[in-house]
């Protein structure tokens, strides 16, 4: 099995040929058909070097696979264009209809149905991801809270369905209504068992759109999920019985069958749990390979499925429980980005294969070969399936209600029984029937298809009106609120206390015990210690709410055009900015004329090279931009600054790396600190009410320097602000601890003394006549010291200044350090590299 799907689907392979071309690409050119089918590529008699060759056979299998996936997804796309359509008819039904059309086209072209859903494809490549998705996103508390009911429906209900449908059909058959069929009792039972399962794919597709209340949903959904496992087991047992033959079945075999049923079901669940533990342990140590971290979830879960299959245990139950059990630990262990990735990838896979399944369910129908019509058999099956489902649900609910805290109402039971949709699992099982043993295989397939279509299409379409008509309690879409969360927690505590006081071991008591056990034993093993600390749910909700608020705050701010008010909360220096902004804006026109052609990318570099004074330039220039762009509000300067820097950050992302995504945690951050230093220093500078004249002087100097530093500038800009503030702050901390010591010394000693090597340059180009260094030397010391005094709120502040200081002391060395960047395409300058560690 080299190719995931292609190799697995013998039927698909058998006639992969031109048919898809014909159907999917609407290309009915006979030439290409014959060409492909015969496998004769035009270049067999090679006379000269062909420039391009037609290698259809080379790519045939994967190509067809990809095309099919594309076609199926496109179908979905088409439906989703029309919301009215999907609001009335569930998507699953629409996809089946599209399948009919596609199937008709294939049949029209081929005169045979060459593409059908084969059990192997279905069970190995389409189903696992759907089940995993369901398990992984299972609302655990709800699921385990209703476990009793779910298991009752899933096991007893399914067995009930299988037995009654099988027996009833057999009874009717004996009555002679169906005419002459070659089916014996065991085969009827086999048929009953394959039809017994409510299909999770179909149920999800319908119920997700209906939004019934959560208890009802979890009952239907949990049942459909677990009973698939049960059905497959039941099917296998019956299948074995059929193979054995009726005469060899005695009590022992039947008991063996029951034992095997239990072992297979619970063994499967156990395999799932074991793999979930493995997976949780694994994600504890994937910190350093974060980028493929999400992959583990999929591959390990899939392995649990295959392992269970290998052990002939229930693979569906295995992957369900793997998902259910691992979700909590995996989500806590993995980085947030990985969790998001898993979440979305899971949905893509699940939704994708769901689409494919429904389309193929439609396509499979257009095949005259499988259609064997027996009105009595088909109709009776349909009736029995529906009736026994209803009887089963009502009977089981009656029993369950005696034990339930909140009894299920009649309405709920109606929806529950009406939600008994059959789906692809039944079809795949029917397809798997051995035609040699079961002589009426085709009749069974066609009956199954009819049942599937009837339930998915008719019941699916009518489900929504029914739910509305019965006024079933819906889920109200709630916003998380802190008080609710708090109160829910309080309720839990209250109930536990009440159970303690009244001295009974109830549901809450058990849950509390389990929680205690989980906290004491499982969490330390399965969860990272860092993740364990963040467990308090209430606090997490609070955190999330705050994040949301902050985001809307910022969005609002950006809409209004100023982020200043956001910053004002944590920026101590804002006052200075306000005060000085007007001063700065006064001088802007000059500067603008000077530097207008240098472009934004030159700014940081020149600033770095020129020490403290140009930091003012930086901001002033940005300020200018802000002015020209929009309002006169002085505080906007900062906003605009950020806007520009953000662009630079984005640009950085164009760089491709297989290992990193967007964020760069490496040396580049040093550069960011440079930039931050600029800002800090600027603020301290403003506070001294100076820099107005200096900035003017320096500007030209910047121009001068650009030729040398152009490339460097670029790389610097690349590196700068490539990340969020979070990064820089801890990074600054790192610098503080590591390189802070010696460099801080230099602050004291050499701070503010300009390197004469370049100062003449500055002077040269300067339109002003004041000797620059006199001013710089005098005032340059002051702000730097002041900066340390003024920003006491973070110990890293002083160290943030350090890289700049380095440049102050010897500008040349800095340029040197930077040179490799320009020439050798190596972003990390040697100096900063050493600083962070």
């Amino acid at each position: 099995m080299k190719l995931p799907w292609g190799a697995a689907t013998p039927l698909l392979l058998a006639a992969l040929a031109g048919t898809t071309w014909a159907s999917s690409a609407h290309n009915t050119d006979p030439q290409s058909n014959t060409n492909a089918t015969n496998g004769t590529e035009g270049n067999s008699g090679l006379t000269s070097l062909p420039i391009v060759t037609w290698k259809w056979h080379h790519v045939e299998q994967p190509y067809l696979m990809a095309l099919w996936v594309l076609v199926c997804w496109l179908c979905k796309l088409v439906f989703e264009l029309n919301h009215k359509l999907t609001a009335t008819i569930p998507e699953s039904a629409l996809l089946i209809f599209i399948g009919f059309v596609l199937g008709g086209m294939i049949w029209g072209a081929d005169k045979a149905q060459t593409f059908t859903l084969t059990p192997v494809t279905f069970f190995y490549y389409l189903l696992p991801q759907i089940i995993l998705d369901a398990g992984y996103f299972m609302p655990n508390k709800l699921f385990f809270g209703n476990m009793g009911a779910i298991l009752t429906y899933a096991i007893l209900g399914t067995v009930w369905n299988a037995v009654t449908v099988g027996l009833s059909l057999w009874g009717v058959y004996l009555g002679g209504i169906m005419g002459d069929l070659k089916i014996n009792l065991l085969e009827f039972m086999l048929f009953g068992s394959l039809l017994s399962a409510v299909d999770p794919v179909a149920v999800l597709a319908v119920f997700e759109e209906v939004h019934v209340n959560e208890v009802l949903f979890i009952l239907v959904f949990g049942e459909s999920l677990l009973n698939d496992g049960v059905t497959v087991v039941l099917y296998n047992v019956c299948d074995a019985f059929v193979t054995l033959g009726a005469d060899r079945i005695n009590a022992v075999e039947i008991i063996k069958g029951i034992v095997s049923f239990l072992v297979v079901a619970f063994g499967g669940a156990l395999v799932g749990v074991v793999f979930a533990v493995l997976l949780s342990l694994l994600t504890r140590c994937t910190k350093n390979i974060q980028i493929i971290e999400p992959g583990f979830i999929f591959i390990v879960s899939y392995l649990s499925y295959l392992t269970a299959e290998m052990l002939s245990l229930s693979s569906i139950l295995a992957i369900t429980f793997c998902g259910v059990c691992c979700q909590k630990y995996v989500n806590a262990n993995m980085a947030e980005s990985s969790v998001t990735t898993v979440r979305y990838a899971m949905k893509v896979f699940a939704n994708g294969s769901e689409t494919i399944i429904f389309v193929f369910l439609g396509i499979s129908a257009i095949d005259p070969e499988i259609w064997v019509w027996n009105t009595a058999f088909i109709l009776l099956t349909l009736v029995f399936v529906l009736v026994y489902r209803i009887i089963g649900v009502f009977a089981l609910t009656w029993i369950l209600n005696r034990f339930r805290l909140i009894p299920l109402e009649i309405i709920d039971q109606v929806v529950l029984s009406y939600g008994g949709l059959r789906g692809a699992v039944a079809y795949a099982l029917a397809f798997m029937l051995d035609g040699n043993k079961v002589r009426e295989k085709n009749l069974m397939i066609s009956t199954t298809l009819i049942v599937v279509y009837f339930t998915v299409v008719l019941q699916g379409v009518t489900m929504k009106p029914l739910v509305t008509w019965l006024k079933v309690k819906r889920t109200s879409k709630t916003e998380v609120s802190l008080i609710e969360k708090l109160q829910n927690r309080a309720f839990d505590h209250i109930l536990i206390a009440i159970e303690d006081i009244s001295g009974q071991i109830g549901h809450n008591y058990m849950r509390e015990k389990w929680n205690k056990f989980e906290e004491k034993w499982l969490r330390p093993i399965l969860m990272k210690s860092s993740a364990r600390k963040k467990q308090d749910q209430l606090f997490n909700v609070f955190h999330q709410l705050n994040l949301k608020d902050a985001m809307s705050y910022v969005t609002e701010g950006e809409r209004c055009g100023s982020l200043a008010f956001v910053r004002s909360e944590n920026n101590v220096n804002l006052d200075f900015k306000k005060k000085l902004a007007s001063d700065i804006s006064d001088i802007m026109p000059d500067i603008n004329s000077d530097s207008s052609d240098t472009g934004p990318y030159t700014i940081p570099m020149t600033c770095i090279m020129q020490d403290n004074v140009p930091t003012v330039c930086l901001d002033v220039e940005e300020d200018m931009r802000g002015k020209s762009m929009r309002d006169t509000e002085n505080i906007n300067t900062h906003h605009v600054l950020q806007m520009h820097l953000y662009k630079a950050r984005k640009q950085h992302r164009h760089r491709y790396s297989r290992k990193e995504m967007g964020l760069n945690k490496d040396e580049n951050e040093v550069q960011e600190i440079f930039q931050r230093t600029m800002r800090n220093r600027l603020e301290s500078f403003k506070s001294t009410k100076m820099g107005v004249t200096q900035s003017k002087k320096i500007k030209p100097a910047k121009k001068d320097q650009i030729p040398n530093g152009k490339h460097k500038t670029h790389s610097f800009e690349d590196a700068d602000f490539s990340d969020d503030n979070v990064f820089s702050s801890d990074f600054a901390g790192g610098v503080a601890s590591g390189g802070g010591g010696p460099t801080r010394l230099s602050i004291r000693s050499g701070g503010g003394i300009e390197n004469p090597a370049f100062m003449p340059d500055v002077d040269h180009a300067s339109p002003l006549h004041t000797p620059p260094w006199s001013a710089v030397v005098d005032d340059g010391v002051a702000p730097s010291q002041r900066a340390q005094v003024q920003l006491p709120w973070s110990p890293s502040n002083a160290s943030r200044l350090t890289p700049l200081r380095i440049s102050t002391r010897s500008n040349d060395s800095f340029i040197l350090a930077d040179r490799p960047t320009a020439q050798g395409e190596q972003p990390p300058p040697s100096q900063p590299k050493s600083t962070p560690k």
Binding site: R404, Q487, I494, L495, I498, S502, F539
Partner: protein, 194 residues
């Protein structure tokens, strides 16, 4: 320990209790046994110390408050009737029970469940959950790693969510409204065994 058959006969005013709380005689019998088991020394009433003998309550963050809820203002004892009446708050709502217009609000109605929860916060019985009262509950219910400052901001936020009239406290009405969407009937109900 009362002998099983004559248990019910020992309970005075049984009929009224059943009427009031909606418990079945079997429930009452079971609760009476429990009451007696808690009642160290057969005093005929329970004291806070009796509740203290329930080990699990000590590990319940709001266990003390719940114990406190059993004792009406200023009293140190709770007799069987009050005991059952408090527990009856947690009986699930019953739909089949004929709703007579003249009957008072049943003890297990949504509103009285909520009032019970409300009173756990409102320790000074002024009909409002003040910031301090909320903070106290939060302090007991949140784990150690949450700092006092965070607690305070959580409390502020919670009040802000619920507070409609801007008095920086949560009145019962506001409390009820803020929990409108919560399935109280489910979350404040326990299944009492027979």
């Amino acid at each position: 320990m009362g002998s099983s058959n004559s248990t019910l006969s020992k309970i005075p005013n049984l009929g009224r209790l059943i009427e009031e709380t909606g418990f079945t005689p079997a429930h009452i019998k079971r609760l009476y046994k429990r009451f007696q088991a808690l009642d160290k020394g057969n005093k005929g009433y329970l004291s806070p110390q009796d509740f203290g003998s329930v080990k699990e309550l000590a590990t319940n963050p709001i266990g003390d408050r719940i114990i406190g809820a059993f004792f009406s203002q200023g009293q140190e004892t709770v007799d069987f009737h009050s005991f059952v009446r408090i527990l009856a708050h947690f009986r699930p709502l019953d739909k089949n029970r004929a709703k007579r217009p003249d009957s008072p609000e049943p003890i297990n109605s949504r509103i009285s469940k909520l009032r019970f929860a409300f009173q756990l916060y409102d320790q000074d019985n002024d009909g409002k959950i003040s910031r301090d009262e909320l903070l106290q509950v939060l302090r007991t219910m949140l784990e150690m790693q949450v700092t006092e400052e965070q607690l305070e901001s959580i409390a502020d936020r919670t009040i802000q969510e619920a507070d409609l009239d801007g008095d920086n406290a949560i009145s019962f009405d506001e409390f009820r409204k803020s929990l409108e969407k919560v399935n109280i009937e489910h979350k404040m109900s326990s299944r009492f065994l027979h």
